[in-house]
């Protein structure tokens, strides 16, 4: 199982491609040929298994498209953080 999971709020996506460029695991890509409600080509998690839950995508995304989960390793503060 993947170490991380990203949930994509597709309709927020503007297809800017920044997350694609900044994901260190090449998990993401733009869903060419598909359009979201706003008329943009949205991002999609193609290579889900590679996701480490590093949240780089959430950090770079200007449109808060991502929610990110990661496999629990040890007890950690609950506060989400970037």
């Amino acid at each position: 199982m993947a170490k991380g999971v990203v949930v994509i709020d597709e309709d927020r996506c503007k297809g800017c491609g920044l997350c694609v460029a900044f994901c260190p695991q090449q998990v993401l890509q733009l869903a060419e040929g598909r359009f979201n409600a706003k008329g943009y080509t949205p991002v999609t998690a193609a290579n889900v298994e590679a996701c480490t839950g590093c949240a780089a995508c959430a950090t770079i995304c200007p449109d808060v498209v991502f929610t990110v989960y990661r496999q629990r390793r040890q007890a950690k503060a609950e506060t989400p953080t970037v």
Partner: protein, 254 residues
Amino acid sequence: MEEMELVYKRPESLTPAHTHYCPGCTHGIIHRLIAEVLDELGVRERTIGIAPVGCSVLAYYYFNVDMAEAAHGRAPAMATGLKRVSPDKVVFTYQGDGDLAAIGTAEIIQAASRGELFTTIFVNNAVYGMTGGQMAPTTLPGQRTTSSPAGREVETAGWPIKVAELIAVLPGTAYVTRQAVLDIPTIRRAKKAIKLAFQTQLAGLGFSMVEIISTCPTNWHMDPKEALEWAKEHMLAYYPLGDTKVSDGVRALM
């Protein structure tokens, strides 16, 4: 996902609204960082924001806090008026480079000089975004814009203004820094700086400002990734990152 922990979720200090920003515009990143900081400091319910005239004019739809929309450049005066009668509130202005460094020069300098207890987030994207890409006071030498079509000529248009350095000269400032949102490490540092700026305000130490080097892919005529790279290469060369003023009180918070 029982065995999964939440690493990132949308901050409560943002409304659910979709922004009107262009794809890849860093205004969105900066909004998010501010919202995360307000969440972390637990001050959302006592925060009041002042939106500028500029691309971020609609910021009041995006921040889940009370907000007002200022006249072009006058956000610091408005924030002053408001904070002085609401000393228990957390007040911030969000301003672009045209707004803050051109028409609003007097207001930001005087508010900083008085040490007003609010925080300014200053988004430097080297251009007037909203009106379609004219030269800003921060436009780089040689940079082409719709009002400097041959590239900014410093002989006639002057040198770009380094706001963080200028403001830092004023004794009323407690914390002034220049950050960027151009990749993961700069974004992380920018968030820390924003947090420290709000903490400076909460501790009543003086005026705090975070200048943030940003991009305007649309008016730079670049794709968002290219814009980040251009900013790193060209803007950071002229606008070095780092703190330009850290008062003793602020140092103690660090």
